[in-house]
Amino acid sequence: MKRRGRGIACMWYPIGFTVAANPSAALVKVNEDGTATLLTGTVETGQGSLTVLGQIAAEELGIATDDVHVISADTDTTPMDTGAIASRTTYVTGNAVRLAAGKAKAILFEVAAPMLGVKPDQLEARDRKIQVKDYPQRNLAIGEVANHAQVVMGQPPIGAASFNPATVALDPETGQGKPFSTYVYATQIAEVDVDDETGEVEVLRIVAAHDCGTAINPMLVEGQIEGGISMGVGFALQEEILFDAAGRQINPNFTNYIMPTSLDMPTIEVDIVKSFDPTGPFGAKGVGEPTAVPTAAAILNAIHNAVGVRITSLPATAEKVLAAIKAKRAPAPKRIAARPRQLGR
């Protein structure tokens, strides 16, 4: 008989490396027609980081995403980057990109200011124009300014910058310190059906509410959450590398290493929590790894809710769940030392 259950799990996760320097550098050059090229040493592994970094550069320069061409991942031609790791790209590389674009923009403002009859700090870049703040009617097309800068003034608009999160080393005895500049938070709630005759768990639905600061590209954030949940489902219920007594892997292949297919995926509903981190580029933080963090916990809590068994080791295979159901053990957590008891007893 199928029993329905639901489980909740929340989590926190840091952005960037633990204390250690993990800088990213970026270079932005504005072409004579107002389009731009961004050079970044980061590696696009599928998460869409190049698109997001392009959006950040475009936002800073007041142009559209399609106006920015992104070049990446070549140690000869792109500036250094600590890498697409620790969910740091949007935050660390994004900040570097924003700063670099800002420097190129400063050159554009310097050139545009006399053309518009104002001081550079009165200008802003929006909608492909360099315009006067609070008086946008006085403006120039960014292409005109960029061309003038390079061709007439001899000042090509180019900017390079780097960024490294601010941390404080941890005390070796107590671990106290500021290991990360910022964190993200999330909750996932899973709804499952547990077949109490076979132990099989079907994940029906997962609701995920993730904080990522400003979502630079909500569609790509959703994609990360959906993908992370698929890894979480596998971690919770299926995947395991098995070793024989001599320490050799028994199942180094897809036939016997079970991982989620399209048939195993639940319906996923995503909510991006409204949040803004002033230390991130346009308020953004990150999302890559947090998506895979609370899923297993939510599913296992749902199993507990459905059939009253607490599985304490992953994966919660059908065999394990069935054995637990059969043992009819809903393990009451050990209770010790009810108050009042004295210390040092």
Partner: protein, 466 residues
């Protein structure tokens, strides 16, 4: 004259017969088919929008993916390119007595063979440099590479691996992390202790906290070893130029670090190394350190030809990093209405044969292990131990999925015992703006409660309450 022609014809026939699959010259198809895509470039409206932040912008690389035109490393070919394969130990702990590569080297189509003693500096690692490029004297896990071959086809390279004879002296091994913790356990990297890194977080006074608690709960949890399983296996191509510069096209996710590792292992200045990693088919943390790159570079140098190496799916499992299995013990003291007063955590991480990203994983797991909760009295201790199994490294979450499974299962157990709604007990204890973290950091831009309430609302949590 006739005599010469006869010899010529005979030689040609013999050559074709014995070398039909061993073509020493150019092996690219003569004509590349034309690529078909729409003449009129469609630019999605959303990519033309300003402002750019917040837009559901489509990806230009996404279009290439859908057309099948993205060129991953295995889709690239260079003139005269050779194919490399690595022989895996197949034994978890051993001393290498002898490696005999003569039979492999003599095979038609095999252009070079490489062993560990030819690597200029045969050690690397993101923190501890305890991993060899190719095992030289000792084997520490069954997936260790012991020799490599470059041949004109992949098939010949694989056949050549079988012809490499390695004589092993089996050594004791330890596989269980709790066993490895013991003083009398076999030392994986003797004379060093198996415990190769530790971390402690201490805050407040847990004894006082437990004494003041109405209830104390304990729970033990364990997670398994899993693998990243990127659809694209690890792949790289090494090419040299006459100025002594090597270009390595690779699936590496950290090219700055990768370049530093190549520089160190091959004893080359940094500006003689170019790493290009523009297109990768998934990483998830498993492609963040070098694997075969120095091997390919040396084979390429030896043969004077580009050398490509693509891991088999088996190698993806046995010879690349995996997620740390963790044994987690929790003890939590709460008031009768469910507020956490004290928490004690012990984590033992199975650290595999080499350190890789274990120090980072250990640190993060320890810091995150208390959960996103306000806890004044905390002791979290974490250890990572060597075992003779596949090395454990960086994998999406660095220990967070494991500890979250533990602390959230534990939280639900507490809620059940106190007859509290799992949502309510979390809202009671969750971080708020300005709360101190386990390391004493004042937290800003905190959104735990928002995420709890939003998810609960969307799910219909209160309505579904059993």
């Amino acid at each position: 004259m006739a005599h010469k022609t006869e010899i010529g014809v005979r030689e040609q026939r013999v050559t074709q017969k014995t070398l039909h699959s061993v073509d020493e010259t150019l092996r690219l198809p003569a004509v590349t088919p034309p690529v078909t895509y729409p003449i009129e470039t469609l630019v999605p409206q959303v990519r033309q929008q300003t402002p750019a932040v917040g837009q559901r912008v489509t990806r230009p690389d996404g279009r290439l993916h859908g057309l099948g035109q993205t060129r991953y490393i295995d889709d690239l070919a260079f003139p005269g390119m050779l194919y490399a394969k690595i022989k895996r130990a197949g034994i978890a702990s051993a001393r290498i007595k002898r490696i005999d590569t003569r039979e492999a080297e003599a095979m038609p189509g095999v252009m070079a063979v490489l062993t560990g003693r030819e690597i200029p500096v045969n050690s690397f690692g993101p923190s501890l440099k305890d991993q060899p490029v190719l095992a030289d004297d000792r084997v520490f896990h069954a997936g260790d590479g012991v020799a490599a071959v470059a041949a004109v086809t992949e098939q010949i390279a694989l056949e050549a691996l079988d012809k490499i004879k390695v004589e092993y002296e089996p050594l004791p091994a330890v596989f269980d992390p709790l066993e490895a913790l013991k003083d009398d356990a076999h030392k994986v990297h003797a004379p060093n202790s198996n415990i190769y890194a530790t971390k402690v977080i201490k805050k407040g006074d847990i004894d006082k906290g437990f004494a003041a608690s109405d209830h104390i709960f304990e729970g033990s949890f364990r997670t398994q070893m899993v693998e990243h399983v990127p659809l694209e296996p690890h792949a790289a191509i090494a090419v040299w130029d006459p100025n002594g510069r090597v270009t390595i096209h690779s699936t590496l996710g950290r090219i700055t670090l990768g370049r530093a590792d190549i520089s160190r292992t091959l004893k080359l200045p940094l500006n003689r190394i170019r790493i290009i990693a523009t297109i990768v088919g998934g990483n998830f943390g498993g492609k963040n350190e070098i694997t075969q790159e120095p091997v390919l570079a040396l084979l390429s140098k030896k043969t004077g030809r580009p050398v490509k190496g693509v891991f088999t799916r088996t190698e993806e499992f046995i010879a690349t990093t995996t997620r740390h299995p963790i044994i987690m013990d929790y003890k939590t003291g709460v008031t009768k209405d469910g507020r956490i007063l004290a928490r004690k955590v012990r984590l033992v991480l199975d650290g595999g044969a080499y350190c890789s990203w274990s120090e980072t994983t250990l640190g993060k797991a320890c810091i995150l292990s208390a959960g996103p909760y306000k806890i004044d009295n905390l002791l979290a201790e974490a250890f990572v131990v060597y075992t003779n199994k596949t090395m454990t490294g960086a994998m999406r979450g660095f220990g967070a999925p494991q500890v979250c499974f533990a602390y959230e299962s534990h939280m639900d157990d507490i809620a059940a015992a106190l007859d509290l709604d799992p949502l309510d007990i979390r809202l009671l204890n969750a971080f708020e703006e300005g709360s101190p973290s386990p390391t004493g950091q004042v937290l800003q831009s905190v959104a735990v409660k928002d995420s709890l309430l939003q998810a609960a609302q969307r799910f219909g949590w209160k309505e579904a309450r059993k």
